[in-house]
Point group: D2
């Protein structure tokens, strides 16, 4: 997936005639060869979204950015440009249940997830994850209780900042971030919620699902916002369950859903396929 | 699926040791040969559920019922016994959108749904469904507005009663039954709701889903109760959607989910595979 | 889906740098506003595929075609250009089982499938489909036996030609087309095969699946070629089955898979989303 | 899932009237309380299959076996009886790709798979799996080449025997067992094949799938028999793919299918839910 000399451009702007051609033209004029282009015009909001992958063998990222900036301003664009070979730094937050953590680490190790891991932050000690080979990844034990919450979030924020973290992943991290931190991390903090949102928000969703007697359970990956479990949804999936499944069965079945939904979401995000559109997302699948 | 001389027994009772053997034994002692047996003990409520299919070439339904009654009382059972060859009478209620109606009629015609159709009741005139061959099935036009609601429900109830209806199916019938009628039809009135409950209760669920930006939409078949969209869930299914799907796309995609969820539910119900368990269901799949 | 003034362009050509920009640029220069653009470079064959939707309020189809032709030749393109408002004419072929026919007609009637139906050709008499309202669609009864096969195929071909048919759909038509006719209809004749190809080619696939004891059964929509069940696959889907399902159960479950796979395929084709790539297809999902 | 004092009985025998009642009755007469009972009569072969879970607080496994033996003979039964608390010993065989191995070990560690691991046998050295914490599980490096094949299989067989292995799992073990060993392990050796059988038997199935242009890929868990990839199928699953997926993408997507299909199969097997029925299986889902 990572090829030197390939760049990914994402942009959004007010929709108007001619954007696709204008962007294509601009990149071609600079010597770029477009490999992939996807776009979406949101008829409801009048906003336009685009993702392009192009090759450029002559310019580096800075030159390309400089070349794009003036053009982007004429269309009032919000945009990002990334060298596909440049890996993002991802910080993994985890609580007691480590199935998502173990799964992400395995996929990262075999090359499924093109990223660097900035660290693992847990509110349980290293011993809890003793069977997991962290392979030199920094581990930070950050126990949280009522009194320490504010202080520990300060430490958390400092760790994110000092480690050069691009993306924070709440990989079944069961502590709620403050509104303030949620806002600071807007668009670069992803949570995996163990229900098919908007059903079963909040605590113990599998127990809620058991009580309601649903025939499918699910998991939802979403951006974290100040409103709990209300952030823009990126990816969801479900599994079939029956009356015979206990809450413990739902939890077990749910582990599989959670880890595959989170892994898919990470791959999408790392390939710049997830764009924010207000309280929703635009996800350009391949 | 319908074989003369085959009977289906469903029962529920307080759980205790020995029920499976006691029931098996009782049926065998009467000369029945058990073909299928499924059971479920709800550890939370202490209630036991069972479904048996057996052949009996000597006794008819009445004799079998008589033979079972005294035994059932000793275990405080609620039970039903049906000759599998005896078709249930089903009343179909429909509003403007007829995809579920057309689908049910097609499946019934080719033998997928072993039932007799007692009639079709619609709050739109016969002309709305002019392309559908009702093949002699009684059609009742029952327009409803604010003033006529109570009167028309009286007519509806009379039609259900006079036609010997066993099961009422709200096949995208967009009128809400009164609490009183909902209670009278408890356990024998099924609705198809066009969302993955408990998400998006109430009106215009596809528009709700669009606004929330979910990545899966669904449909839910449930028993009708006095609480809107809160009845025991029987069956659910979903389809994947994307940011590019408009509310109209969701409605189109949803039609497919609705009709297959409702058709599966009908098949399950008609084969006595759906048992009520308080606010939940026990569904014995084959 | 059908909007006057919208055009769909599909093309394929040898891959080289700059095609996306060149095409975008060409359309924009002519006054077209690109709404959607999808592309795929097949690294194995070195062939490039593209689909564009654009609006043009000044030119009609002929003018646009004229304008595109010279440009297309410079890149050795194969291409099609269609006014999205111009419906294709579809001929439906059916044998005894009419679930796909009934389903397609229903979807067409409510506007899910933007096409005109050129006719229905069946090797069973009209009486077989007596419950289906053809609504004035020409019906042709073309019984086929060993001796009449060649003659009847001549009639079939004439019907296709005289009716201005753009696409032939074998909607569970159980007669095999001659190699000659298959070649003549290359790229515009679609079959629904009742197995998850390449498993269970040929006759009675559900019985084959039953004997093999598979846990999933499927259906496959593909272009018809001279090699039976070997044509380019467009769409597939599956359902879960169990040891308890008889061949008759598989046939019943399969009906649902067949009709949804065929309906999806038709929608994709009618929106110019299906491109041939040798023995495979490129399918641009929305 | 493992509860002391619970026993699982599986049996098969020629079908005849009264078996369910006879078995239920026999167990009850001995003091057992039946918790679950599932049965299947294969109309094609005339063979009957049953699985029962019962509690018995008075007898141990030997007493129960003795009590059942004479009864079973009267019905010509093949049967197994297991104390649910008694874990099976499972030997894991693996080649270079360790995603199934890592997944099984994780699930075993957190209690999803109630088994003891007798050992890991690999044709690659321990170093290949250096990131996996084997936690004291014996590891056997058994490199295989053309000349050593027969000798190494002797070692393999000895390891299986000496370790008291009940079940052998080929967790992406890419060496083919000899017909002789396959026969010796009949019914207790499971393989995960990386295609949706019977499509794409043999080597490099994902490359085969890519060339055929299928729109779904799958994996199949089956009992190993002397005929390669022809053993009784236990479980299958699929994922959707597109024209844009390269063989490497299919391999990546396939890893997820393989590991979940194998894990489900193991759970089913360990709970005595998988019965052999000639070249097919009976799988009693919960």
């Amino acid at each position: 997936m990572i090829i030197p000399g390939q760049f990914v451009l994402t942009l959004s702007c007010p929709d108007r005639a001619g954007i696709v051609a204008a962007v294509s033209n601009h990149l071609a004029a600079q010597g770029g060869n477009i490999i992939e282009a996807q776009q979406f015009g949101d008829a409801e909001t009048g906003r336009f979204f685009m993702r392009l992958v192009f090759e450029d063998t002559e310019r580096d990222l800075d030159a390309l950015k400089q070349g794009f900036d003036a053009f982007a301003q004429t269309l009032a664009m919000q945009w990002t440009l990334r060298n596909r070979a440049q890996r993002r730094r991802v910080m993994l937050l985890v609580s007691k249940f480590d199935h998502c953590l173990a799964d992400i680490l395995y996929r990262w190790r075999i090359g499924e997830l093109p990223m660097d891991i900035a660290g693992v932050i847990a509110n349980h000690p290293r011993e809890t994850y003793r069977h997991i080979d962290l392979d030199g990844i920094p581990f930070h034990y950050l126990p949280v209780d009522r009194n320490s919450r504010a202080d520990q979030e300060g430490v958390l924020e400092a760790l994110i900042e000092q480690s050069g973290t691009d993306l924070v992943v709440l990989a079944r991290y069961m502590q709620i971030l403050s509104n303030d931190l949620a806002r600071k991390l807007a668009g670069r903090c992803i949570n995996i919620h163990h229900s098919f949102l908007p059903g079963f928000k909040g605590a113990r969703p599998y127990h809620q699902a058991y009580r309601r007697g649903v025939k499918l359970i699910g998991a939802t990956a979403h951006f974290v916002t100040a409103e709990l479990d209300e952030g823009p949804i990126i990816e969801q999936d479900i599994e079939r369950v029956t009356h015979a499944d206990t809450p413990e069965d739902l939890i077990r079945i749910g582990r599989d859903i959670e880890r595959r939904v989170l892994a898919r979401t990470l791959r999408l995000y790392l390939d710049d396929r997830v764009l924010l559109n207000g309280s929703k997302t635009v996800v350009f699948h391949s």
